[in-house]
Amino acid sequence: LTSLGIGAYGVANIPVVQDDAGAGGLFGARGRLGLIGPLVFEPSITYFSNQDTEVDGIPFEAPELTSYAFNLLLKWGGSYATGGIGSSWLEIPGGPEGGYETTYNFGGGYEFPAGPVAVDISPRVFVVETADSASRKNVALMAGVNYYFF
């Protein structure tokens, strides 16, 4: 390992083309393990807080979404690109029983280091595969703090 850190993050979640879910917050936790060269491995858990919404005056309770992801980061300087795969718990009120769905995510970010601490800003897209060729997509605007042990 070239580095080892932990972090927490939050801010905003924007469902994309989902009539039955409104934008809300998110929060999560992650680890950062430096591998070789510019590669960093990042396991994480993210809770998406979709908001209830209304369509034609009909109230819709928002889907519940918790995503577990394993990402690779390619870093250069403070910047990084990232992509990962994982699984999300998705429960749609009034829909089929909740279950785990394969989830992909990709995005980028920037770390502002200050000693062992770094402020981390990262927009990402989460793609939760709900059926063959079907998904629910959420844009995650993540900002948080990482602490590096070394």
Binding site: V16, V17, Q18, D19, D20, A21, L35, I36, G37, P38, L39, V55, D56, I58, P59, F60, E61, L72, L74, A81, G83, I85, I92, P93, G94, G95, P96, Y104, F106, V127, E129, T130, A131, D132, S133, A134, S135, R136, K137
Partner: protein, 174 residues
């Protein structure tokens, strides 16, 4: 000679794999549409049949060949019962079942023995989600676009299911 893949190439390959994996499902969206039906006058004797043709709805019709998932199904209505308290059962099937005696065994219950007190009982969308049985079978008939609803009161009293509206959430190709 052993060739070592540099980390940058490895990430690029992984990124390509990721794009390939998700490209099929990126072009989908989840939409809601409502289908308003005529009042259903439930006969005191036998099942009342109501054909449903979702292709009459523009949103459904626009995506009928690109339906990938029926996410949730609910309804709203008013059950108007001018007589004594009773209950009502509703079944559905893809094809019409002409013989009343076959309906309970060949059709699928949407809900059974729903209380219909004297007067009007309003069922909102959230409550309907708790009433619906056999969601998977309902997904199938909705995806097909056309099906038949059978309604019958438990007791021999006529009642009306007024202003019935189906509320359907589906994920479709864009």
């Amino acid at each position: 000679m052993r060739k070592i893949l540099n980390p940058g190439s490895g990430v690029a390959l992984a990124a390509l794999g990721l794009v390939a994996a998700i490209s099929g499902c990126l072009t989908s969206g989840t939409e809601v549409f409502t289908y308003e039906m005529e009042d259903i006058n439930v006969s005191a004797t036998g099942f009342t049949r109501t054909p449903v043709d979702l292709t009459e709805n523009d949103t459904f019709n626009d995506h009928v060949d690109e339906i990938r998932l029926i996410d949730r199904v609910g309804f709203t209505c008013n059950i108007v019962n001018p007589g004594s308290p009773t209950s009502v059962s509703i079944y559905f099937s893809k094809e019409n079942i002409p013989n009343d005696a076959d309906v309970p065994t060949q059709a699928t219950p949407l809900f059974t023995n729903l209380a219909a007190p004297s007067g009007t009982r309003t069922i909102g969308y959230d409550e309907s989600l708790t009433l619906i049985q056999n969601f998977e079978a309902l997904q199938e008939v909705i995806e097909s676009g056309q099906f038949v609803i059978y309604s019958q009161p438990t007791d021999p009293f006529a009642l009306t299911i007024a202003d019935p509206v189906l509320v359907i959430t589906f994920t479709v190709g864009l």
